[in-house]
């Protein structure tokens, strides 16, 4: 009996050891060859999204009815992990269409060859040119949000300090120990802000800028919710920092009945995060995936995006709430860095940033 027992354990160990080789031979099989032909079709459609995807039940039903497809919605992780999950499952895709890849990860997704180009006819050429990650049609822009520094206007008024307006202001002594941002390694607005500093200060100039920020007492926390709800003076906690990394739309949620907000975004510090949808290459229903993307960028879904996903629609035909327009409209010239540069360099930026800021 004891021998059998040891044999069972050995079997477990062997199963573990043998697995990588087995997977390797599987990946070598030429099952991706079919994807160069006509798009696959099926009666079912599996939609992969990041955690924050939201679509009302009515619109889900509308799409199911119009397309005749049985649709399943699966939530994967946040934007970064989502791309990695797709790369890992390249040979046996989890679904047919993906939503939620943003411009900080778009380059990696396109490069990894996990997407099948889809040229949508719903968005105008101008719109596509304005938001596209590249010219391959691999990713269709769906929505965008401006990551901006926010300030607590009441704090600055009470302390009789002139509020900052630009990135350069933040390294001045009067703003020492007032800024809280998020870690680019663990938070997507954090990465967006790092990219913004690269866009504004150049590469490697951004590192000098961060050295000055660090010397001026910038606080770096894990995620947006930490920064906003705990460290920000106007986030409901007992925070001590009146300048926070957040979104252009954030002040709207604190608006009082008289239409004024106690906080505001600094429009010269913004980086535009654009979220894309794409057809998963090798999925069971590439045709249905294209239909779904066209539905996402259509007027009906686009008009619900501010309420459902706290982002701005890319389709100019969409109708958005007046308050949304009032707050997000202040950003007219966000800092821009193209997706290909971000994808080839962001790893180095994060590593160098960690060296400089964390030590």
């Amino acid at each position: 009996m004891r021998k059998l027992f040891a044999a069972a354990l050995l079997a477990v160990a062997l199963a573990g050891c043998a697995a990588p080789a087995a997977t390797d031979s599987a990946t070598a099989s030429p099952q991706t060859a079919a994807t160069t032909d006509a798009p696959t079709t099926s009666k079912k459609l599996t939609v992969l999204t990041h955690q924050s995807f939201a679509l009302s039940d009515e619109l889900k039903a509308e799409f199911a009815k119009a397309s005749g497809l049985e649709v399943e919605y699966l939530a994967l992780d946040s934007a970064g992990a989502l791309v990695n999950q797709l790369v890992l499952t390249k040979d046996a895709p989890l679904g047919d269409v993906v939503f939620g890849i943003d411009n900080t990860f778009a380059g990696r997704a396109i490069e990894a060859g996990i997407l099948r180009p889809h040229a949508t006819t719903v968005l105008s050429a101008d719109t596509l040119a304005k938001y596209a990650a590249d010219d391959s049609s691999s990713l269709t822009p769906v929505d965008y949000g401006d990551v901006c520094l926010n300030i607590d206007d009441e704090w600055f008024a009470a302390k009789k300090v002139a509020p900052p307006a630009t990135l350069d202001d933040l390294v001045k002594p009067e703003y020492k120990d007032l800024l809280v941002v998020t870690n680019p390694a663990t938070s997507s607005p954090g990465l967006a802000f790092l990219v913004a500093t690269v866009g504004a200060k150049g590469d490697p100039g951004y590192l000098d800028y961060w050295k000055q920020l660090a010397a001026n007492g910038v606080k770096v926390v894990k995620g947006w919710e930490d920064a906003y709800y705990t460290d920000f003076t106007a986030g409901g906690g007992k925070g001590t920092r009146p300048i926070v990394l957040s979104y252009a739309s954030s002040p709207m949620y604190g608006e009082a009945d008289d239409g004024t907000a106690p906080t505001s975004a600094l429009p010269k510090t913004c980086f535009r995060q654009i979220e894309y949808a794409g057809v998963v290459k090798g999925g069971q229903n590439e045709a249905g995936a294209g239909e779904f993307i066209d539905f996402l960028v259509g007027k009906a879904v686009q008009s619900t995006i501010p309420d459902q996903m706290y982002m701005s629609p890319v389709n100019p035909e969409a109708t958005v709430p007046a308050a949304w327009e009032k707050y997000t409209g202040v950003v007219t010239a966000p800092i821009e860095v193209d997706a290909a540069t971000i994808s080839s360099d962001n790893e180095r930026w994060i590593k160098d940033w960690t060296q400089v800021v964390v030590g």
Partner: protein
């Protein structure tokens, strides 16, 4: 034959849902596009940053372990050795942090650290406090369970011979408790060395662990070779901690004369040091962060109100469900996870409770024991990504199935079920089984009439642990493809990442904490009053 048959289902489960995915993912680090290469792994292992992080992991874990032991021993005495009303509720309460999701703990601690305690924010001390917050109950339970059953005659003899209470503690009681202290310390070290979310939140950018580094390499950079190299380091640390825990446990079982039931003594004035220390820990370290959650959940505008609780039943824009729906999803998932963990855990712990005569048999059992503890110490990223690249073919194409969520949770709950049931099985005198067998009872009948009644006594706590763990599990769950049936921790996370739902998120956190505490209390209160709840 019985032990082998009984261990087959758990071993198969473990092999398919843990060993295979983890080994495959780690293997990807070695087998690249161009065949086998160990170069990238060697690279990450020779970088200064890696070693700084390994040093930090070990240092943090060691410091937190020492602190948890120093604070936990007085707690074990007060909660398991002294008789006073409410002690079992406090036992249940101290276990709550252990099973709370780190996203909740992170928010709770940071709320506490803004304001007068801000100077602690982002420091080593904040990380340390959070690690002790999580693991205090591990030491209390492990030491307390042994202490409660310690034969008091040696202590009585020492007292009769004129030793002071303090002297008796240092020369008789503490040496007898040493194995349990060592086992509890090793487990605490294991949990601290693999801590993830809470270190990320509280250590900000300065403090990390091997676990946070694996996440960074695998998720942010998709550098699988680096992640694989670090996973191997992590496995080595975990294996060492488990080995020490096992050794210590084995010694405690050999050397000690234990009573079947707990012997509690009345609380006296001389107990004031334990009372002060434990009250300080329970109120200052455990209750205060949880209290800050409660405070922020009722803070509405400039005043207080229950508005956030009223909204628990309303559909949140952007979330397909209400918070109460998520509670329902969580309960259902946890029920299933608990069933799986109990079904397998009862078998594993039964097999582990045997005492084979040969050295080989004992070693095999030791290996089995350590293997089933590994899921507690292996990165959720590794397991989650491992699922994606292994469970992709029929009949095991479970990657997009809802069933994978309870399975992942059961994997995490299983070690706790095993640890909780093991002392119960071991408390059964093997001679009873032999006597029953001699009288003609078959193996099944022996199990049903001798073992089962005993097992039921430890079951309450095992169910409590399994259920509470799956309620709070977030790490592995967040890496799975989840159909639109979010569990409570997932909803909390999503609410927190939106601009206008903080109060609601806090209310949901409070619901989760209360639910967890209720489950643990129920587990603690089921069964005879003197049974010591163990995590041996």
């Amino acid at each position: 034959m019985a032990p082998l048959t009984l261990s087959l289902a758990p071993i198969a489960f473990f092999a398919v849902f843990f060993a295979w995915p983890v080994a495959t993912l780690v293997g990807r680090g070695f087998w690249g596009e161009d065949g086998f290469t160990g170069q990238a792994v060697v690279e990450v292992l020779s970088s200064a940053r890696t070693w700084r992080i390994i040093g930090q992991t070990l240092g943090q874990a060691a410091a937190a372990t020492v602190l948890a032991v120093l604070l936990g021993i007085p707690g074990a005495c007060l909660l398991y050795r002294r008789k006073w009303p409410g002690r079992r509720l406090v036992r249940a309460f101290v276990a709550v942090p252990f099973v709370l999701p780190s996203v909740v703990v992170g928010v709770a601690f940071r709320s506490l650290l803004s304001g007068p305690l801000e100077f602690l924010d982002g420091t080593f001390w904040a990380v340390l406090a959070a690690l002790v917050f999580f693991n205090y109950s591990v030491v209390v339970r492990t030491v307390g369970a042994l202490w409660a059953r310690l034969d008091t005659r040696a202590q009585d003899a020492a007292r009769t011979l004129g030793a002071t209470g303090r002297r008796v503690f240092w020369t008789v009681t503490l040496p007898a408790l040493a194995p349990a202290v060592a086992a509890g310390a090793a487990l605490t070290f294991l949990f601290c060395a693999t801590a993830f979310g809470v270190v990320l939140v509280l250590g900000q950018t300065r403090y990390g662990t091997v676990e946070t580094e694996i996440y960074f390499q695998a998720v942010t950079l998709l550098d699988l070779p680096a992640a694989a190299g670090l996973s191997i380091v992590q496995l080595a640390i975990v294996a060492a901690a488990l080995l020490i825990a096992n050794r210590a446990r084995a010694r405690s079982e050999r050397a000690l004369r234990l009573r079947g039931d707990a012997a509690e003594q009345p609380l006296t004035g001389r107990d004031w040091p334990q009372v002060v220390v434990t009250a300080g820990v329970v109120v200052g370290l455990l209750a205060a962060p949880l209290g800050s959650l409660l405070w922020r959940s009722v803070a509405v505008g400039d005043g207080f109100g229950l508005g956030n609780y009223a909204r628990l039943g309303e559909a949140v824009p952007g979330l397909a469900v209400t918070v109460w729906d998520a509670v329902g999803n969580s309960l259902l998932t946890a029920l299933l996870a608990t069933a799986i963990a109990l079904f397998l855990g009862a078998q594993v712990s039964y097999v582990l409770s045997r005492r084979p005569a040969s050295a080989l048999g004992r070693r095999a059992l030791g290996a089995l024991d350590a293997a089933f503890m590994l899921p507690l110490g292996v990165s959720a990223v590794t397991v989650g990504f491992g699922f994606l690249i292994t469970l992709n073919r029929p009949p095991l194409d479970l990657r997009t199935s809802w069933v994978l969520v309870p399975i992942a949770q059961a994997l995490v709950a299983l070690p706790l079920v095993v640890r909780t049931l093991l002392p119960t099985w071991r408390a059964i005198d093997p001679r009873w089984r032999q006597a029953a067998a001699t009288l003609g009872a078959g193996p099944g009948r022996v199990l049903a009439t001798i073992d089962a009644p005993y097992l039921l006594r430890g079951l309450g706590l095992a169910v409590g642990f399994a259920f509470a763990t799956s309620l709070g599990e977030f790490g592995a769950t967040s890496f799975l493809a989840r159909p639109d049936r979010p569990t409570l921790p997932v909803v909390v996370y999503r609410l927190l990442s939106r601009p206008d739902n903080f109060g609601l998120a806090m209310a949901a956190c409070v619901v989760l904490t209360v639910l967890t505490a209720a489950v643990m209390a129920a587990g603690e209160l089921v069964g005879p009053p003197n049974r010591a709840g163990a995590l041996s």
